[in-house]
């Protein structure tokens, strides 16, 4: 039976193609001059360059963290190119008609048509290709509502006060090794500002694509939801299939001011490497949100890609009555390794957090949940509920749970539940006896296991996530 499952798990990576696009790519290597060049390419103001350089200088003094339950050869930071952009983007196309059709085709192939009339009606997309944003759709419609949704490189120039005020306010430059590196060299990403009392009229989404070889993608996303506003944001990511590892070190900062709500969903499908662990993306990401009084931040992630994942979307529950949520599905197979989870930092009174983590391990993979729940001295009446479930497929994979609970308030309540289960022979036999093949059976059982998380995703993407798991589990059953 387990052999059949193994076969069923042999997956094709459907986003693994490379687009022939003439690019301008920096030679590999990193020093202050590279940072100056990035800043110059982006036409940034002096303060931004200074900020980058400060980050770079602290990064030089920091050490790469090694506490995660992952194992990979040391990254040679001098072998990476820190900027790559399609040449055609240099003249800043003003409309979609001026964008290189090959770029548009790339997104179409990925199922993300960028022509507004072809898109899912309720979703605006910012498409980031290597180091630049190619296009941002529905901008006018959003502007009518007062919503700012643009590449962060543009926001730095157009809305310097907002960016200056909030960038690094949630994830400081020196927060950690990868965040410091990102702060020094970030190239693009999305900026969102939702004005007071506004409900963003559509879903916002950013689609990240790594295309060039030997480049890293260092995007930076900043979302500010002003008082009483609401926004739902989704990011998706893919990369070509290659034998070399590539680095993706992103930073995402969310600011939910009083009574605001931010729902942030990720469908991560970076190239995971082949079955022997060759190639794939190193996904070292820092994501954190700060919730002010009565605000709510909700992270939902579906992680199926990447060779190595190091990622802990977190909530700082600063304001009284603020709410943090983390819903995660992490699927690893082949030689994939994931160390992912969250941090819920309860500072304010009556703050609440919920963590639902579903880890699925197959093949020779390793899947770890790592989560911190911290109840501060002021967090009277704070509550956390954590549920951590692992599903094992086959007998060569590992599931690990590392919960950390720190409570400095006697009135705080922390609950933690954890289960580990296997896709059982009985379940498979029942499915197959009802006429379903092994692939369909496994993907159905896995989807069922993830249901609690999928129901948190925006509807269009819940379907996509289900499909993605299906593709991930797709193979050639004899």
């Amino acid at each position: 039976m387990s052999e059949q499952i193994e076969q069923a798990l042999e997956r094709k990576y459907e986003a693994g193609f490379y687009s022939e696009i003439e690019s301008e790519t920096f030679e590999s290597g990193l020093d202050e001059s590279v940072i100056r060049r990035i800043s110059q390419m982006k036409g940034e103001p002096e303060w931004m360059l200074e900020w980058r350089l400060k980050a770079y200088r602290s990064w030089l003094e920091m050490e790469e963290p090694d506490w995660a339950h992952v194992d990979y050869p040391k990254v040679d930071y001098q072998a990476i190119s820190y900027y790559s952009a399609p040449k055609s983007m240099k003249d800043k196309p003003q409309s979609l008609d001026e964008v290189d059709p090959e770029l548009l085709r790339t997104y179409e192939k990925l199922g993300i048509p960028l022509h507004e009339q072809e898109m899912l009606a309720g979703v605006a997309v910012d498409a980031v290709f290597d180091s630049v944003s190619v296009v941002t759709t529905f901008r006018e419609k959003l502007e009518d509502a007062g919503v700012i949704f643009c590449p962060i490189s543009e926001a730095i120039k157009k809305y310097p006060d907002l960016v200056k005020k909030y960038i690094g306010s949630v994830v400081p430059r020196t927060d950690n090794y990868f965040a410091a590196l990102n702060s020094a060299v970030f190239t693009d990403g999305s900026f969102v500002y939702i004005p007071k009392g506004t409900r963003c009229p559509m879903e916002l989404s950013t689609y990240f694509r790594i295309n060039e070889m030997n480049t890293g993608q260092f995007e930076r996303t900043l979302i500010v939801a002003d008082e009483g506003s609401y926004v739902s944001y989704l990011e998706g990511c893919t990369a070509p299939q290659r034998d070399e590892n590539q680095l993706h070190a992103a930073v995402v900062e969310l600011v939910a001011l009083d009574d605001a709500q931010i729902k942030y969903s990720t469908v991560q499908n970076w190239y995971p490497g082949d079955e022997n662990g060759k190639g794939g993306i190193y996904n070292f990401v820092t994501k954190r949100g700060i919730a002010h009084t009565n605000a709510k931040i909700s992270w939902t992630q579906v992680e199926t890609g990447s060779a190595v994942t190091w990622k802990y979307p977190s909530c700082v529950l600063k304001g009284d009555n603020s709410v943090g949520e983390f819903y995660s599905v992490a699927l690893t197979r082949g030689r994939q390794q994931a160390d992912t989870g969250t941090k819920m930092i309860h500072i304010g009174k009556n703050t609440k957090s919920t963590i639902i983590s579903k880890g699925i391990s197959a093949g020779n993979s390793n899947n770890a949940y790592r989560g911190l729940v911290q109840m501060g001295p002021r967090a009277d009446g704070a509550r956390n509920f954590t549920e951590c479930d692992s599903l094992l497929i086959g007998d060569k994979c590992g599931a690990h749970t590392f919960p950390y609970i720190e409570s400095r308030n006697p009135s705080a309540i922390v609950e933690h539940e954890a289960t580990t289960s296997k896709v059982s022979d009985e379940q498979l036999f029942l499915c197959k006896q009802r006429g379903l093949d092994t692939e369909k059976s496994v993907s159905m059982i896995v989807n069922g296991f993830c249901k609690e998380v999928f129901k948190e995703l925006p509807m269009e993407f819940a379907v996509e996530a289900g499909k993605l798991l299906e593709i991930s589990l797709e193979g050639s059953v004899g």
């Binding site: 036999f429 499915c431 006896q433 009802r434 006429g435 296991f449 993830c450 249901k451 609690e452």
Partner: protein, 253 residues
């Protein structure tokens, strides 16, 4: 329809079925009775192709096809349905989506268009009512948190929806009270249409008061040792499996 010739099968290298012969014609109901450990449940698993159940000898054909050559799901699509004695839970997968997938897998095999969500829902609701389960069972996870009796009824509901040509009921009566037994039996009887065949595996005669068999077979030590009509079941009820010899009597005691 189903023809079993000299079937030998083992589980973990232990011979369980030892030369079993059985002919089932369209529309017939065959009851298989026997003491514990006779190989009753094993027969159902062997016929449905479960992993770990190795056939060492013999032939089995279903509707003219060599059953033993087929994978589990292919046998199912050929119309073989097994109602489990202990149905397993599949958390998070709703009964509805599970059965829709499976009904459409059967339809595909028959060259029919898949049912739309609305068409399926209509059929599912009717089947659910027929086995007297509340409609919210369609939304609940497959067997998730169901009682023993609810699980058995859920199996019958699946049988009704899948319209198989051969139904094997593996102790569908075990653990049921009289009312539930009636529901299960009514469900089965409603599916008797002169073409569909049944193999009813049971330990007790009781079920056969509700589902009238055309033939009763006594399975002992991996073989059918006695066959007869419904009256054979009453004989067993009265005097147990004593006629099989002393060892079985003790096993029953």
């Amino acid at each position: 329809m189903l023809s079993i010739k000299n079937l030998h099968a083992s589980v973990e290298e232990k011979n369980i079925i030892k030369g079993l012969n059985l002919e089932v014609k369209p529309g017939e109901v065959h009851a298989i009775m026997g003491p514990n450990g006779a190989g009753k449940s094993t027969l159902g698993y062997v016929l449905s192709g479960r992993d770990g159940y190795e056939v060492s000898e013999g032939d089995v054909s279903l509707n003219g096809k060599d059953l033993l050559e087929l994978e589990v799901e292919e046998r199912a699509r050929e119309g073989l349905f097994l109602a489990f004695q202990y149905p397993v839970e599949i958390p998070g997968v709703s009964n509805m989506e599970f059965m829709k997938e499976s009904v459409n897998a059967m339809r595909e095999q028959r060259g029919e268009e898949p049912l739309s969500a609305a068409e399926f829902l209509k059929k599912a609701k009717a089947a659910c009512k027929q086995v007297q389960l509340p409609l919210d069972f369609l939304k609940r996870g497959v067997n998730e948190g169901f009682s023993g009796g609810e699980k058995k009824r859920n199996e019958i509901m699946q049988m009704i929806l899948l319209e198989p040509s051969l139904c094997i009921l593996d102790e569908s009566d075990s653990g049921l009270d009289v009312d539930a037994l009636q529901v299960v039996a009514d469900g089965v009887n409603s599916q008797r249409d002169g073409k569909r065949s049944f193999i009813v595996v049971t330990h007790y005669q009781r079920l056969l008061d509700y589902i009238k068999p055309d033939f009763v077979h006594i399975l002992a030590d991996g073989k059918i040792v006695k066959s007869g009509d419904a009256s054979l079941a009453h004989e067993v009820e009265k005097s147990g499996y004593a006629f099989l010899g002393k060892s079985y009597e003790e096993a029953e005691a």
